[in-house]
C-alpha cells in the first residue's frame, strides 16, 4: 500500500510521465467532448422547447451554466494544486495550477458575459450588484491576481508560493458563490442542477444541459493538458526524452 502510494507520487510528479499519458488521453477527451458539445448545443438551440416564462432566451443556459460551473471547479482544482505543491513540494502540481489560471479567467469572463446577455431580456438589465454576480466578478479578479503574480515575480519558487497562497485564500469565495442565491435576495435564479434532488426541468431541456456540461469538462481537460505540455517541453528541454521527441518530428 505504502509503496504503491510512493510510486503514484513519483509518477504524478514526473513531467515525462504526465507528457506521455496526456498524449494518449488528449484525443479521447477532445473527440468525446466535441461530440457531446455538438449534440448538446444543437439540441438545446433548435430542438428543446422554449421556457414557459423566459421564452427562447433560456437557451443561453446551455453555455452559461457549463462555463459558470467549470470556472468554479477550475478554481478549486487550482487551489488544490497549489496546496499539493506547498505541502509535498511537487513542482508539477504548481505547473498545473499555473496553467489553469488563464483558462479559468476565460471561463469566468464567459459566464459573466453570457449571464449579462441573458439578464437583459429576462431581468431588464445587463448587470446588478447582487451577491451572485459580484462574487463571480471577484472570482475573475482572483484568477487575474494569480496570472499577475506569475507575470510580476521573476523567481519561480516565490511566484509558485505566492500564487498558491492567493488561490487558497481566495477559495473562501467558492462557497459564497454557491450559496449566494440562498443566503441573499438576488435576481439570479437558484441552481438548475443539484446532485441530490431530481431535476425540476423537463428531460428534453435537461439532458442537453448535462451533455454540454460533461462536454465542457472534457474540453477543459484538453486545454489544461495542452498548456501543461508546453510548460513541460520548455522545462525539460535539456533531457534526452524531449530531445528525442523534437528530433523525430515535433508534431505529436
Amino acid at each position: 500500500m505504502w509503496s504503491a502510494l510512493k510510486r503514484l507520487y513519483h509518477q504524478l510528479g514526473s513531467p515525462k510521465w504526465f507528457y506521455e499519458l496526456t498524449s494518449r488521453w488528449s484525443p479521447w477527451f477532445l473527440w468525446i467532448g466535441s461530440a457531446l458539445m455538438l449534440v448538446g448545443v444543437v439540441w438545446g438551440l433548435a430542438f428543446a422547447p422554449a421556457d414557459y416564462l423566459q421564452g427562447n432566451s433560456f437557451r443561453i443556459i446551455y453555455i452559461h451554466v457549463p462555463a459558470a460551473l467549470l470556472s468554479q471547479s477550475a478554481y478549486v482544482m487550482m487551489a488544490v494544486a497549489g496546496l499539493v505543491g506547498l505541502v509535498w513540494k511537487m513542482k508539477m502540481s504548481f505547473v498545473v495550477g499555473k496553467t489553469i489560471a488563464p483558462i479559468g479567467a476565460g471561463l469566468a469572463v464567459m459566464a459573466l458575459l453570457t449571464g449579462a446577455i441573458w439578464g437583459k431580456p429576462t431581468w431588464g438589465t445587463w448587470w446588478v450588484w447582487d451577491a451572485r454576480l459580484t462574487s463571480m466578478l471577484i472570482l475573475l479578479f482572483l484568477y487575474m491576481g494569480v496570472i499577475a503574480i506569475y507575470n510580476a515575480i521573476e523567481n519561480e519558487e516565490m511566484a509558485n508560493k505566492a500564487a498558491a497562497v492567493l488561490a487558497l485564500v481566495g477559495s473562501i469565495n467558492i462557497p459564497i458563490i454557491k450559496y449566494s442565491v440562498e443566503w441573499w435576495n438576488t435576481l439570479h435564479q437558484p441552481a438548475t442542477i443539484t446532485l441530490t434532488k431530481k431535476p425540476t426541468m423537463a428531460p428534453e431541456m435537461f439532458i442537453p444541459l448535462v451533455l454540454t456540461i460533461i462536454g465542457f469538462y472534457c474540453w477543459f481537460a484538453v486545454w489544461v493538458f495542452a498548456r501543461t505540455r508546453n510548460e513541460i517541453l520548455w522545462r525539460e528541454r535539456r533531457t534526452k526524452w524531449v530531445q528525442r521527441i523534437l528530433s523525430t518530428g515535433a508534431n505529436h
Binding site: A46, A50, S57, I63, G106, I117, W219, W223, L246
Partner: protein, 57 residues
Amino acid sequence: MFFDSFTELFNMGGHGVFVWLSYGLSALIIAQNFISPMLTRKKVIKDIERQMRREQK
C-alpha cells in the same frame, strides 16, 4: 425541430440576438483556448531548437 423555419430559429421570437450573441462570444473564448496553446507549442519548439543550435556552435 422546435421552430417552424430557419428564420424562426434565427429570430427566436425576438430573443435571437441575445442567444446568438452569447453563443458567438463563447465560441471566441473556446476557440482561443484551443488555438493559444497550439501557437505556444510552435514557439516553444522553435525556441528550444534555436537554443540547441546556438549551443552547438
